[in-house]
Symmetry: C2
Subunit: 214 residues, 2 copies
């Protein structure tokens, strides 16, 4: 009992590597052409360099691999938001810097973002629903964050959700554009500028809101 509990250590390491390799192969193949729905189990194992039956050592079927990719992709996205929350200090350049960080991050993790974008409306119901649940969660988290800003302190939860929904839709639009142009540099500069303007336009409307009633 005093001995280290590293049961099947090496065996588990190998297992973890293959498991991860299967996930990565799926993302890679989806980046090359397919939707998740169009991927085959054999295609994925071929990419990894293992025999098809090995797949079943790690996942019961394709859907369970897909759900794991959803979780993995949202972990990536949440890391971005965590950093954004810590570094975002309200001020002149806050929006600009947030958008820059966002675009750079999407480029750096394009396969995760592409997976989410593609499967949000995609062909596998369980995956689609999981993604939607997570997006809704994200939206209310953003709403909570927004509620801390002085101008928004008096807003109802519903209205805060409405604004955060608008912002998230704008951001999804940005993701689409980042994903559809493979080039970096100049393309991104323009994208960043547009996204910044869109967010600023939304924010300009905010102080006018209540005075107009609803």
């Amino acid at each position: 009992m005093g001995r280290p509990q590293k049961t099947h250590r090496a065996s588990k390491d190998r297992s973890l590597n293959t498991r991860q390799a299967l996930r990565e192969a799926a993302l890679e193949l989806m980046d090359r052409d397919n939707s998740f729905d169009g991927l085959s189990l054999r295609e994925i194992t071929r990419e990894v360099g293992v025999v098809p039956t090995t797949f079943y050592r790690h996942f019961s079927d394709m859907e369970s691999l897909g759900l794991e990719l959803v979780a993995e992709s949202f972990r990536t996205l949440r890391e971005l938001l965590k950093v954004a929350r810590q570094t975002a200090v309200p001020g002149e350049k806050m929006i600009r810097r947030s958008v820059e960080t966002f675009v750079t991050y999407v480029r750096a993790h394009r396969r995760h973002f592409q997976f989410l974008a593609r499967e949000r409306f995609g062909g596998v119901a369980a995956i689609r629903e999981e993604i939607r649940t997570e997006v809704r969660l994200l939206q209310s988290e953003l709403a909570t964050d927004l509620g801390r800003f002085p101008v928004l302190k008096t807003w109802s939860t519903e209205d805060l959700n409405m604004v955060s929904g608008l912002m998230i839709n704008a951001m999804i639009g940005i993701v689409e554009q980042v994903l559809s142009s493979r080039r970096r540099g100049q393309d991104d500069d323009e994208l960043i500028m547009i996204a910044e303007k869109q967010l600023r336009l939304i924010i300009l409307g905010v102080p006018q809101w209540r005075s107009q009633g609803d």
Copy 2:
């Protein structure tokens, strides 16, 4: 030569019907579960009740059927916009009524909108690109429309595009929500209310824009 030019009339009628039936079967099957990428040619002909080879009498391959569905779906969308343009009289209730029309129309043509939403990020590159081209076109048309409003007369083309992009992203978000809830009635009322608020928030920001410079 004086005779009516109805060459192969009945033959062509039959052909048109089957062609249309193939398109509709594809939409129906996509509504049931799959992404376009996951559909098979045989599945579609089975649904129509013809032999697989008949498919080739009408389309060279699946991709060409897909591209025809893109065209068909955008024809549907453009009809909505045409009506919207003719009936939209600026005023108190304009936004509300536009959003109501929009949601009702999306419900009535859910399979077309679902196809576009799904394949916009989908697995077939040619289809994805065709959809993006059309969306971009739509965006600049809306920008032109917006430019006719007094408040926006002095805006640059780039900024008008920025606003229309924001609005289109908000509308795509609405489409997603309409598609993901099969119920009508109360759900839609709430959706309509949120969409109306989002558009109104964007519009509230507009008069503030220039005074802030950029």
